[in-house]
Symmetry: C2
Subunit: 288 residues, 2 copies
């Protein structure tokens, strides 16, 4: 086949993909070509705009390192991450709501004893984080891994700092006790801008958007037989709750910082959340 023009190129590409062995590859590829060509037909990019798009994507790729994932930032800021999250978590009514993983998760942080202090000398208001993990039928889940990570009081994650990914500060894994409870000490995280010194930051500026996320603590909670829960707990009162740059805020994930009347273990505030895991549905969502 030859002589492809505006009216014939899309079907030509789809026909060519018809030989894909894996039906999922075929289906996703065909849909990608259809939607991508539709976008191009709608906006009619000039050659210079197409060159800009190629250069933009190249710069996004070149910005990605072990400690920086610019394509996740792009997906997050275009709302794609939250849409994928929603599609994969059509959960029963009482299960804890999910939100984006974000670009700062580091696999396999050390498991620490309950009550440990994960701040490793970071300064800021002292915080006691407490919570529990239950099944959606109300049963406490013991021995469940609770992975947590959050920013410092200036809004930076450990992997963003010069000392790099080895430091593992303000992140750790805990294991729930017999009653499904966990607790640890840290400092109060801050709202922060997503890393905006790259092409995604330039895109936000061009789109008239700020780069901020409201203060939050990340959690990833995994137990066999249950959907892995990836979520945040947001701190009530943050000025960015209504304009989170990655569209991740849900009312049910917001909690007050409770001032502690007398300091307990040196903590000035408490943040508490009781998580509910959904039973694994099997199939696609189980990959969560």
């Amino acid at each position: 086949m030859r002589n492809f023009g505006e009216d014939t190129i899309t079907q030509a590409v789809i026909d060519r993909i018809g030989n894909a062995k894996d039906p999922r590859v075929k289906r996703v590829s065909e849909a990608l070509v259809r939607h991508l060509h539709s976008f191009v037909r709608e906006v009619e990019p000039s050659q210079r705009e197409w060159e800009f798009a190629i250069d933009f994507l190249t710069r996004v790729g070149h910005m990605c390192t072990g400690a920086r994932q610019e394509f996740i930032l792009l997906s997050d800021t275009l709302g794609v991450s939250m849409l994928v999250d929603a599609i994969n978590h059509r959960l029963p009514g009482n299960a804890t709501e999910t939100t984006v993983l974000g670009p700062f998760y580091v696999g396999q942080p050390p498991e620490l004893a309950l009550g440990a202090d994960i701040s490793h000398g970071e300064t800021g208001p002292r915080l006691m984080v407490e919570g529990s993990v239950h099944s959606d039928d109300g049963k406490p889940l013991a021995n469940v891994i609770v992975d947590t990570w959050h920013s410092d009081a200036d809004g930076y994650y450990d992997v963003q700092k010069d000392d790099g990914a080895d430091s593992l500060t303000l992140r750790a894994r805990f294991r729930t006790d017999q009653n499904g409870r966990f607790w640890f000490q840290s400092i109060v995280p801050s709202f922060y801008p997503i890393p905006d010194d790259g092409p995604v930051g330039q895109m936000l500026t061009a789109q008239g958007r700020h780069p901020y996320r409201p203060a939050h603590v990340h959690f990833m909670i995994a137990s066999p037989g249950y959907e892995t829960l990836v979520t945040h707990v947001f701190i009530a009162g943050d000025k960015y709750l209504d304009s989170d740059v990655v569209f991740g805020v849900k009312d049910k994930l917001i909690r007050e910082l409770e001032p502690l009347p007398a300091e307990q273990n040196g903590a000035a505030f408490r943040l508490r959340y009781d998580f509910v895991l959904a039973r694994s549905a099997g199939g696609k969502a189980a990959a969560g």
Copy 2:
């Protein structure tokens, strides 16, 4: 705004972009979000598939260097480059048809005297390339820059070889004479696979596609007041004319290799094309 789910996230992102100052940025961003979200809604990627997509794009970005443009290969193989080309070249009937730029163009090669040999010692059947440049009203165009580049007899461009982009072999610029004519000596190019040792090659394999392009000589012809012509001349009889991996072949761009009865200037074959430039329409397409 908070609590975005499958039904509300798309409009939320579009609303956020509403503050973009530049109306073109606003329009393209809104369309991107709509089409990208539509694609995600249709294929319902699992979290693992989303992670694969992030990793795929990251690998495409990391594959890009000064001598390798993997995002152009991705655009070319998904038919996007030919679609953008078609949209930008709704030309008068007798103007030479356009095709993709491809990833191997190197800006500003040296200008050589008419008749020069651009093969610089590359081996292969000797070729005399001849042609002319006319306006769409039939007037010969003198003093026009004819930029040309093509592969060697094994199907490789100079920038793909170890000695790198400095060598500038099988590429040069010529200037048409008073009668709009140009000619130079070279060798016959070969069909070739696009660079397929990266993520785009893996995509083609998964889609059941070969990576080949039929043999061709690239031309970029620019003259003030005319649309810059970016095209190829394909060699008749090539086995990949009907399955070009980038969908670039048009019948009117195919020419026979004419065997020369007696060798002329050492050439065994002649390839001839008479190009017709379209007058600049102004506006978007002029960026061509």
